[in-house]
Symmetry: none
Subunit: 192 residues, 4 copies
């Protein structure tokens, strides 16, 4: 196995195990075993479990941003772009339940809290950007309600992730039609 393959495998397995069992249900030894590497090896790639988790988050975040931005056209009308982004996001979480579960865990943990505070302090260059710019623009154009960005974010991301989670728990079935209706509802919430 090549060096970079090992790192990749550790990341992949961590995602899987943490998504399924939670941070505390996925010991380093289990990750090492499943990844087919020695326990000590993980520490050659990641200083600590915390850092492994943070790194994993960053990788997923990066992938999601790529997916979101693929085909995104800043020229299109606000609403169309909103629906474009939301649909991409929701479909991504439906297609990759493990990513969804991991992200959920991450945001609802001390990690997530620091992250949010960082974002508040303006350090962000993450997935929120496109959305945040969209919200700003929409407010400026008086297409969206005149509310703080965090409120728009709350009215958008929270329902979407909640829906994705419910879908993954098999509490609802999110087909394309349902996805579209839900996103339209979100739009109704933020639009002026």
């Amino acid at each position: 196995m090549k060096k970079s393959d090992k790192r990749e495998e550790i990341i992949r397995v961590s995602l899987e195990l943490i998504a399924e069992h939670g941070f505390h249900g996925a010991p380093m030894a289990m990750i090492a075993d499943t990844a087919g590497v020695g326990a000590g090896t993980i520490y050659r790639y990641f200083e600590s479990k915390d850092i492994l988790i943070t790194e994993l988050f960053r990788e997923l975040e990066g992938k999601i941003i790529v997916v979101l931005m693929d085909g995104y056209c800043e020229e299109k009308p606000i609403k169309e772009r909103f629906i474009f982004l939301c649909t991409k996001l929701l479909k991504y979480f439906v297609s990759y339940p493990l990513h969804c579960r991991f992200m959920e865990q991450y945001f609802n943990s001390p990690y997530g809290v620091s992250l949010k505070k960082d974002k508040f302090l303006g350090k962000s260059s993450d997935q929120g950007d496109a959305f945040m710019n969209l919200f700003k623009e929409g407010i400026a154009q008086q297409v969206l309600k005149d509310l703080p960005l965090f409120v728009h974010a709350a009215l958008t991301f929270s329902p979407l992730t909640a829906l994705a989670r419910d879908h993954n728990l098999a509490l609802i079935k999110l087909d394309d039609a349902m996805i579209m209706k839900s996103i339209e509802a979100c739009w109704d919430g933020i639009k002026r």
Copy 2:
């Protein structure tokens, strides 16, 4: 300290510590020390840590239901009732940040998942009821969008709890005006 005082104190301290540090960041020894009781004493009142947590959840849930239902009038129009309930809920979480953080932790944990599944199976008699009945009624009266109840729930609770959390993290400031605007936005999301 009287017997019931001790139980009360254990519950109070558990809420505080778990809200602040999470389930895994609040060991029994820490709870015992902070509550000023022996480690073994906790086990006189709660069979296990799991049961302590579940019990704590139930107590909070009970309090919240009481608050929500106080002054609730089923005769009023759907929208008015929706705003009434949401306002109560959001103000409660703003007033009791610890309760908010604890509930958040609880729902985003194996406990919360079982709970949701139970609710899905129709066993619930909890806080959701008033909301769920409201949603059902609203759909029947064609006041609300024709979507599954879980979608309405996602469009309502998720943004509200996200806002409360952001407020508690001092990322936004939820005053009465902002609360009202946010809830109106939620209403826009679910209304037909």
Copy 3:
């Protein structure tokens, strides 16, 4: 409940619970609850759990000696007396399985070891006496093999208690005929 009744009840319940669950499976709180007294009350009658157990042993030992000696006639021939005592003992253990189990536990524990050492040092005035005298007499009369008393004891008590235990575990069925045959076999072992 009278004072002496309480002591009696504690002893009775201890026997029952220890016989069933072992020394470590019968916490003081369980004994107190089952006996219908407060946990602290036990300590008015017995200084410690160890002393409770020792006391319980002494009481049972006393009862057994009474049973053994009832009708015992020193004038009868050695063999007849041997069979008389063994039969009484074995039937006692078959009739009182709890006593049997407790005695077994007691002898196979640090308590039992000290006891044996004490007996060796000549402090005994216990159930062994009649047997020990019998053995001495039998050796003197050249009816029994010329072996140390402990060997005679080992050839007698060990099989008897093993049989009683097996009976209580339902591994064998000790009816009167089987009891008699087994004791005859013991006799064959020690007789010259």
Copy 4:
């Protein structure tokens, strides 16, 4: 220390401490300290204390069977074989007092009871076999008394282990002559 040395050391120390202090008097921490390993290390070799104890039993049992069967000749007459096996067993216990004490503790515990029940149900392939076959054969040939196997076992093993224990407690001195006499006495007990 090599890997296998550590396991060996843990087993050795466990035997020693449990033989001396009993199962409950030999905490894992004490075993770890005495063996000169970390507490967690034990769990790399044994899943739990129960499993450590069971494993220890199996190892001893294995050794004893090897010793017993070494030089055992099925062609020899019943009595000679009986004396052969008993002598080997008794001498083993006299040579290895710790093994004797451990086995005693094991058999007089919930572990031992299950074992006996298993043996009763015919699952055994353990040390008893040679003896049990001997007993069966002896009964068939009308050399031994016509009694259930468990009675023969009680008349054989119980006195032998009692004698070994008494020897280890320095209550008697089992030299070769005494061993032979005692075993002859056991034979007298079971022979027709």
